[in-house]
Symmetry: C2
């Protein structure tokens, strides 16, 4: 992220939409991502998915995203897109539950069969997982895991959550 | 829920869509709720909101909903709709953040200003909260709080979550 913004091709997309305050909300992020063409031939991201993308990176909790976070998001999304295309071997535009569970473990998450089964039901439509839902699932899994790890400072695998912190960690994503 | 299903007016909506297995998934729930007209003049529920409605009541984790859960959902939704209409005093079809925070405390949730501020940003569009997002917020808050309380058996206000249980409690809603 070292280049001066003015020479960065994404700076144009971003500033045209962000305006003076230099931050974008979920509806602006949706337009911004559509303009960059990152969804390719897949359906553009839903507003819901854009909302949790913002929540994933919104450490100062303003509900908005600056240019550096936008670039960070863009890099993460590109990784997930590569992954999705790799697992969608027949180019149907969807991955199937078994492939999704392989994708999740390839990202390094260790999840029980029960939790995995819940996740697959939640993010599939008619037994298939579309790109937007795939990304929504990746965003949530990353954000929840990051929130958990940030609190699991001794790496014990268990975190004591007071109610309010539990809500804070989960309601926005 | 004591009436025999065949004399219950909602049984017709439900069975027409559920078919032989007597269970509905998120897309069927969306059609079912639209047919009952519960959204009234508001926009029908989004698929996302229907997905978390199912997760909220899906104690056996099949990803689907039977008739009794459908009726339970319908009763809860009617309560939230009354509440929404009461707080939307100017009949604009939206509630504003301050009214939303009053609605949340009127439901008995005790939430810090910081968590509340996150919630209001997450569920509003252009500074207003629409019915579908209002319900999504209520569903999530109820489901997360229920999951928390079920584990807080000593009512200490803090729960020790192993990573996998944390994911199980939060990924589907
Ligand atoms: Ca921010
Ligand atoms: Ca495929
Ligand atoms: Ca209003």
């Amino acid at each position: 992220f070292g280049a001066p913004p003015s020479t960065d091709p994404m700076w144009g997309y971003f500033t045209a939409i962000a305006g003076q305050d230099g931050e974008i909300d979920a509806e602006e992020l949706q337009r911004c991502l559509t303009q960059t063409g990152i969804s390719g031939s897949y359906t553009p991201f839903s507003l819901e998915t854009c909302r949790i993308m913002i929540a994933m990176l919104d450490r100062d909790m303003t509900g908005k995203m600056g240019f550096n976070e936008f670039k960070e998001l863009f890099a993460v999304l590109n990784g997930w897109k590569q992954n999705f295309m790799m697992f969608d071997q027949d180019r149907s535009g969807t991955v199937e539950p078994l492939e999704m569970s392989q994708a999740i473990s390839s990202m390094g998450y260790r999840i029980s069969p029960q939790a995995l089964s819940c996740i697959l039901k939640r993010y599939s439509k008619g037994g298939r997982i579309y790109f937007d839902d795939y990304v929504a699932c990746c965003v949530k899994l990353k954000a929840l895991t990051d929130n958990f790890r940030r609190r699991d400072t001794m790496q014990q695998g268990t975190v004591a959550f007071p109610y309010d912190d539990f809500i804070l960690c989960t309601m926005a994503i």
